[in-house]
Amino acid sequence: MSSTSVTSKNKITTLFEDTNDYSPYFRYTALITLVFMLINSSTFPPFTTILALAAILLPSVFASKWLWPAIFVTAVITFATGSIWTYDNHEWAVLYWMFTLAIFSFVRNDELLQRTARLLIGFIFLFATSWKIAASEFRTGAFFELTGHTEPRFTDIMIAFGLMPEAATTNDRAISRWGDPEYGLQGFSLITSPILESFWIFLTIGTYIVEGGLALLFLWPLVKKFTWLRDLALTVFFIGTYVMVPVSGFGNLLAVMGFAASNIELKRRIALYAGLIVLMEVIPTRMLILSFFGIGS
């Protein structure tokens, strides 16, 4: 027992403190990315997942400067040979992040890596906000109204806010009929909940404030004593969005990049961002919230 403990401890020591000449910042950024890759293994080709697992278990693989270039090249090949226009936007962002780590495996510059992570997050939210400003159906609240009344990813939590469960099922069925040519492309009427009318406006304005605020905070070169605002805003977005809608892939990636972009002290940073991932992935947070409202199984 004691010899096993000593061996394990040595491995961890090697992994975290004596790996190549990477800084602790890069080592933890790499480690949290590897954990993200294992949690979201369906996003990655099997070979990349095997590499990520090997890197966590074998210090020599973790220490290799070719690890991230190999992961990046494998991901790019898989991406380019698939249905490129059907990849989700966060899968594109994953590629940019792999590219970043591949570059900084060679260019040992923590400050520049931190800035790259910050700008990636900032521009993601800048483009996300720009689309939402440009789209009239988002500006008017129609996006949230239709989605909140029909899409199963939204409707289960909307029931907590007053949507009738039967209405959610009926709406989803009405909108899904287009796949059957017997029905043709008939229009449809939604069974709506008047109690939610102001809620759609609240969600629309709230999204502009949070996403626009994130773009501003991450793109603006804040003085160091205010950089904690970025961590706070990202945490608000993370909890607000991913408790509402179960799409944790993008959230986890933002936690990884948020960790890399953060200026707060390393131990606190690990606690915050690892905590956010645990909140979404390990503890069934969303299910607990739904159960609290008496929704779901």
Binding site: G82, S83, I84, W85, T86, Y87, D88, N89, W92, A93, Y96, W97, F99, T100, I103, F104, V107, N109, L112, R115, T116, L119, L120, F123, I124, F125, F127, A128, W131, K132, A134, A135, E137, F138, T140, G141, A142, F143, E145, L146, T147, I175, W178, G179, D180, P181, L185, G187, F188, S189, L190, T192, T207
Partner: protein, 154 residues
């Protein structure tokens, strides 16, 4: 060293052009327009008509999906076409659909990759893609034309 950031910006700035020119859905393509529009690629009904012997008949598109389910390339192209229905992608889809044979069942043409059925040329095919439109004041939705192939010349 900010190459990943430059790459992100370049890809994202290209998306509005593809959106306006080729109807790329904002949910895909690396422009970060997800959760901004209702026009998702999974909410784009397709209507394919084939004309033979001076008669036009709608293809039951589910039969085409079933006929290609084991052909990875055709499935990939179909999914790409729903997300980016450019004239090029639609013409390739028409050519792939012309590789099938068609049988008539009630008022629909049923695609099959078997030996029996009517062979057609891709020039006998027309494709129309639709998108969702929601009127929040009336709580009603409808499907409006998004694009078509062959392209209608005005």
């Amino acid at each position: 060293m900010l190459l990943p950031v430059i790459l992100l910006i370049s890809v994202a700035l290209n998306e509005p052009r593809l959106h306006l020119q080729d109807n790329l859905t904002s949910w895909k393509g690396g422009g970060f327009g997800m959760f901004a529009t209702l026009d998702r690629h999974t909410y784009r009904p397709i209507v394919v008509n084939i004309t033979f012997q001076e008669k036009t008949m709608q293809v039951d598109f589910r039969s085409y999906r079933a006929a290609i389910e084991n052909d990875v390339n055709k499935v990939q192209h179909l999914e790409d076409t729903f997300a980016l229905p450019s004239q090029h992608n639609l013409s390739v889809l028409a050519k792939q659909m012309a590789e099938m044979k068609y049988n008539v069942d009630n008022e629909f043409a049923i695609a099959s990759n078997g030996e029996f059925g009517i062979p057609i040329s891709y020039r006998q095919i027309s494709i129309a893609l639709y998108r969702i439109k929601y009127d929040a004041a009336l709580n009603t939705g409808s499907w409006i034309p998004l694009t078509s192939w062959p392209e209608e010349k005005s």
